[in-house]
């Protein structure tokens, strides 16, 4: 584990947000001017169940330092069951990454409703800070993909 807290390190963070809850929650934190770091870049997906584990691995391969998936709260999925499937998939994927020795705090799932602008901003602040502390993702990055 890194001892210094990587104060100057600017991690790249990919956030997959479902269209109906979390993307709207992100919009709400914008509307309420709730600040979170510019490191976070959001990709809109229809549902958290659209997030293929391959997307997450691809992000890490291309040099992302953290990946977070946000969806509707369990029970509130716009498509009724999508986030339940996502929950199982992500649990198993994260467990596998952990098993392979990848730092746990690089991945996260958070349920954020369209009304939880505050939670969205708070989550992104916390997640960015956690990834910043970990330092750059070296274990899953493919050096060929690095920017020259």
């Amino acid at each position: 584990m890194q001892v210094n807290d990587n104060k100057d390190f600017q991690p790249t963070i990919v956030a997959f947000c479902c269209n109906w809850c979390s993307y709207a929650g992100a919009d709400l934190s914008g509307t309420n001017r709730l600040n979170y770091p510019t490191n976070v870049k959001i990709i809109r997906v229809p549902c958290s169940c659209r997030v293929n584990p391959m997307f997450i691995l691809r992000a890490f391969q291309r040099g992302a330092d953290g990946v977070i998936i946000c969806g509707c709260h369990p029970g509130d999925c716009h498509y009724t069951s999508g986030n339940y499937y996502a929950r199982r998939r992500m649990t198993l994927l994260f467990s596998m990454l952990d098993y392979l020795g990848i730092e746990r705090d690089r991945t996260r799932v958070e349920w954020v409703s369209a009304a939880e602008g505050q939670k969205f901003a708070k989550t992104m602040n916390e997640f960015t800070e956690a990834v910043r502390k970990l330092g750059p993702n070296r274990r899953l990055e493919d050096l060929r993909c690095r920017k020259q």
Binding site: V14, S29, T38, K41, I42, V45, C49, F55, A59
Partner: protein, 663 residues
């Protein structure tokens, strides 16, 4: 070669104050395929839209990226603008640089950098966008209501009122359902038949409503707006079109020892029968299990008696096929069987009855003509014990985990009616909690306690033992007084939990709708879409969705009707074009996608393929019905081979965004 236009909006100062919009437009102009990159003060304004439209025409753009507010705000605006300029509306991508950039960041340099990256991701995605066309799917202007209880009747009446044809399929020989069996209704104590039977007649007389009684749905195909349903009209051995319901046959039938279902088996009916006097349709039905003619070939009395020649011992089940635009499920409930609750001696003593049986015992058309008598010796009962939550809120397997909701109120009603009519009868009610939310409900319950002196005791009945003197020893605990009680009762009434009708689960499979673990139909959204199922075009009415009392059932029935009418009013439905699509060449036919689809949009067919070695092979492949698919994408991840992809959010599009962000 793609020709992409980028349009960066200032949104007044909303974006421009924290994002250097000119720098963003400049940076994005160097992205591959970008031929024009402009900024403007208000892109959503008419002049802003015109700028976009003109650029599309002038530069022959093949895709556009708008860096502006959230797509949830103006995606449609720009899609329409693109369409007006002759560009497919799905070749538009929005980079959200307001809600997700300028409004949350303060530092201009970093916010500008982020806006550029978001713009690049949108450009990368739009490169892979394909033109999509919304399909139009026609709507058959006819509705099917499955179940002819109060829920189904109310839904059918409302839909017919709006001018649409509606069919009711009811498995019993008559519509009416459970409400027809109920004596009085809470909290007003008006007689159920008096308010229900006029509605039954209204349904029968409405020329828009077609009742298929003694019928079942056996197959459902199709999708919203265009269902094809097979209905089995079971043989009733009486020609419905001829029978006048005069009832002469039922009087003369020699086989008089058939347990009467309508009276919960508490008395007998004849082998040819009309369930009750106000039945709709009022048509006789022969029970082939008891009819002497059908069993032995010797009798034929009914046939001889019938002046219109309606009896047909050789009648067969008949399958009819009909098309519908909308389907409303109103399959209702039943009390659970009490064979696993031996402690209450239900199977051992005729004087232990369920609440629904008590309804019949107290009903003027019931076995005792409305006088409450003990079933065993037809004597007047002096002590009656009510047991609440029999099988409701039950942790173990013999019962149900949920609250059946209606028992507290109908027990208060029973207790009150008994005390009113027979003031010399003592009534005890053992309860876990008394739950009376609802308009005038708690007042009603308090009247039972305060005005009618019903003994409400918090506690459970442990055991009911029939004694040699004919009475029942009720052993119970009073939790508030912390003491054990023994009550000598003449009758015990069990508030059995209610459960969805057994036909609901196979029906849900046919309809590809979802059910919870208790077999109640699941609504599309627990708060915001309570009368729709997740499957488009299927609506839920009454207790099939969860325990409900009559007012709630009727309210939901009308709500379901309103939703169905909303659908039937349309000539066609515009489908979301961002739906899943299966690449048949790659599909393994493994069914993973089908299993996770909440809408039943995926079907499998065996198709012939030409293989690379010039042979042909028959393979099982998935296909998606674009009218049913809602575009969640669950199937795309479940698919191991990647044959399933989602239009508008394809694997390659999302990965292009990932790459653009991570670079």
């Amino acid at each position: 070669m793609q020709r992409i236009g980028v349009f960066v909006c200032h949104c007044g100062t909303n974006i421009a104050a924290t994002v250097d919009v000119k720098a963003v437009a400049e940076a994005l102009s160097h992205e591959p395929g970008v031929v024009v990159s402009q900024d403007y003060q208000y892109m959503c304004s008419e002049s802003g839209q015109n700028l976009v439209k003109d650029a599309i025409k002038e530069h022959k753009l093949t895709g556009i990226v708008i860096c502006s507010c959230s797509p949830r705000m103006h995606e449609n605006t720009f899609r329409k603008a693109a369409a007006a300029a002759g560009l497919n509306p799905y070749l538009v991508e929005i980079a959200n640089v307001r809600e997700q950039c300028s409004w949350i960041h303060k530092d201009i340099a970093t916010a500008t950098d982020k806006a550029v990256i978001l713009g690049k991701a949108a450009v990368a995605k739009v490169h892979l966008n394909a033109p999509l066309t919304s399909m139009e799917s026609p709507v058959v202007k006819r509705a099917l209501v499955i179940g002819g209880g109060i829920a189904g009747i109310q839904t059918a009446l409302d839909i017919a009122e709006a001018g649409f044809d509606v069919d009711i399929v009811e498995k019993q020989p008559t519509i009416g359902g459970k409400m027809a069996q109920i004596d009085k209704t809470f909290p007003t104590l008006d007689c159920a038949a008096c308010i229900l039977t006029p509605k039954m007649v209204e349904a029968a007389q409405n020329e828009k409503i077609h009742i298929h009684s003694f019928s079942e749905v056996t197959d459902v195909k199709g999708f919203v707006g265009n269902f094809t349903v097979t209905i089995k009209k079971k043989a009733r051995y009486v020609d419905e079109t001829k029978c006048t319901g005069c009832g002469l046959c039922t009087e003369k039938c020699p086989m008089k020892k058939v347990p009467n279902e309508f009276n919960m088996g508490l008395d007998n009916r004849t082998a040819i029968y009309i369930p009750f006097a106000q039945a709709v349709p009022k048509v006789a039905t022969i029970d082939p299990n008891y009819c002497l003619m059908m069993k032995t070939g010797k009798c034929g009395v009914c046939s001889k008696m019938c002046s219109v020649g309606a009896i047909d011992y050789k009648q067969q089940d008949q399958l009819i096929e009909e098309k519908y635009g909308a389907i409303v499920v109103a399959t209702g409930f039943n009390p659970i069987k009490l064979d696993k609750f031996d402690e209450f001696a239900y199977s051992h003593s005729p004087d232990v009855v369920t609440s629904l049986e008590l309804e019949r015992l107290m009903n003027a058309a019931g076995p005792n003509g409305g006088t409450l008598l003990r079933p065993s010796d037809k004597k007047h009962p002096h002590t009656i014990v009510f047991v609440q939550c029999v099988g409701s809120r039950c942790d173990d397997e013999k019962g149900k985990p949920y609250c059946s909701k209606i028992c507290c109120m109908y027990t208060a009603k029973h207790a009150m009616l008994i005390r009113e009519k027979y003031p010399d009868t003592e009534v005890y009610v053992f309860y876990i909690d008394v739950r009376t939310p609802g308009k005038n409900f708690d007042e009603f319950y308090r009247r039972a306690v305060e005005q009618y002196n019903v003994h409400y005791i918090k506690g459970m009945v442990g055991k009911v033992t029939p004694k040699s003197d004919g009475q029942l020893d009720v052993q119970a605990s009073d939790l508030l007084a912390n003491e054990q009680l023994h009550i000598n009762a003449d009758m015990v009434v069990l508030a059995a939990a209610i459960e969805p009708d057994k036909t609901a689960r196979p029906l849900a499979t046919m309809l590809t709708t979802q059910m919870d673990t208790n077999d109640f139909f699941t609504e599309a959204h627990p708060k915001l879409r309570p009368v729709e199922s997740a499957t488009a075009g299927i609506f839920l009415s009454g207790a099939c969705q969860g325990p409900k009392d009559i007012p709630e059932t009727v309210a939901q029935a009308s709500a379901a009707a309103a939703k169905a009418i909303g659908l039937l009013c349309k000539n066609s439905i515009t489908c979301n074009p961002c739906v899943a699509q299966s690449d048949e060449l790659m599909c393994n036919g493994c069914s993973s996608c089908e299993k996770v689809c909440p809408y039943g949009a995926i079907t499998y067919t065996d198709k012939e393929f030409r293989m690379p070695d010039r042979t042909t092979a028959i393979r099982r492949v998935a296909s998606v019905n674009p009218a049913v698919c809602q575009g969640c994408g669950a199937c795309t991840v479940a698919c191991p081979s990647g044959a399933m992809d989602l239009k508008g959010f394809s694997n390659s599009q999302i990965m292009a965004e990932v790459d653009a962000i991570c670079k």
